[in-house]
Amino acid sequence: MKSNTATRALLFTAASFAICVCAAHAADSRKEARIDIAPGGTVNIVNGGGSITLHSGAGHQLLVAYTAHSAKVEVDQSSSDNKQRVELLTHALPGEKPTADEAKVDYDVTVPAGISVNASTTSGSITADGISSEIGLSSETGQITVHNIAKSHVHVRSVTAPVSLQDVTMSRVDIQSAGGTVQLKNVNGQRVAVGTTSGNIDYQGDFSGGGDYILTTHSGAIDVTLPATASVDLSARSTTGTVENDFPLQQKPHTSFVPQQGRSFAGTSNSGSSSVELQSFSGKIRVKKQ
């Protein structure tokens, strides 16, 4: 008798589990699409709390895979007549008021070479790997990660989202973040500009490429770590904060400002081929030798 009851309980549990799995599977519906796009075209992706992952790929089509977390949202896909522009827009279905979790759609997009990408989320993360053309990424609070990019233009905006770039070379980089931290590792190019309000900025690399590097913040800290081989013309100023330097710099005979002990310094190393400007209003600036 006892054995019979136990068997029934086990079957009931298994059936319940199966129903839950089916329901979850139905809710998290994954779809895939191949979308034609003209060479040199642009894809715009507007998303909410879900993530966006961007890869580089061969061919001439966008490969888009997305997973909706509920049936209350859908993805609108549209293209311009000449296929120069493709839009992917996550939106709630008419009459539906999805919760933040229900509104999530996770994208995985494979982008052909030479196609520009603009991707935005509210709280979802964005990852771009190996894209070889212009990239515009923005997120309010979701982590933004960019790596393995060369000869590109990377434009990032965030409200409080942390931003991380690694191995982005020979590129133009423009990052604006109000409160998010910005980490750059081996990032170089003709112009690298980072501006934050309260977010900290961390740069590790050699500032190579003879470019202009401008790191600016209001109250965040700026930490720079560079090797002795770096060829820089570096200046650091904090209006009301402090500066520290343990990187060997040669004094410049002329500077655009009068260096003030503990508040600013300037100097060059090697041939000083890249211009590096570090500026904070009240944050601390530290320059360290790798």
Binding site: V46, N47, G48, G49, V73, T90, H91, A92, P98, T99, A100, A103, S120, T122, S123, S138, E140, T141, R157, V159, T160, Q176, A178, G179, G195, T196, T197, S198, I214, T216, H218, S219, R237, T239, S256, F257, Q279, F281, S282
Partner: protein
Amino acid sequence: MNCQQFQETLPYIIESGGGGEDESHLQECESCASLVRDLRYIAEQAKLLLPMHDPNPRVWHNIEQSLHREGLLPEGRMSRPGHTQKNSTSQTQAKSWTPVGGVMALTALIIFAVVLTNYKPANVQPATLSARNSATDSIQFSSDDQQLISRLSQQSPEAQRAYEASLRDVNAYIADAEQAAKSNPSDASAQALLQNAYEQKEMVYQMATARSLP
């Protein structure tokens, strides 16, 4: 007359009441008027506390040195030249001092000196004064900011919090950068900070207005 100029004549004003220009400044500047009221009160109370004799010349000398050190008095401008000159050469001590009266007088004078040496006018130049006032005002949310925050609160409480904090920080950034740029109009770096501050605010607005999902 600005606060700095007024401050330089402050000892004479306490002693003699000041001239027309001083009175004019006092009517315009509540900060200086408040200081003068406090100092006059201390001076009046001090008179009541002691027999009518000056303290040891060393006290005046120390006060004078302190004021010079703080840069509050130019060389050769002590408020009581007659007394100072007379006392500095006098080797006699007043006989009618009582110990309690002396201590209280000394205390009152020290308070006077401390107030005077620690007094920092709101700012030296009127133009800078108005800049600071406007900067302080701008830290508050503008009506546009408030509208934006209100709209975001209907979409998502998390977004509202994130944008509200960012706007507050950005407004503080703009206020600081504006003040720095006005103080050093020829400083390219101060101008760059101001530009960055405005770019930050523009970005926050663009992102807030572009959002569509929770």
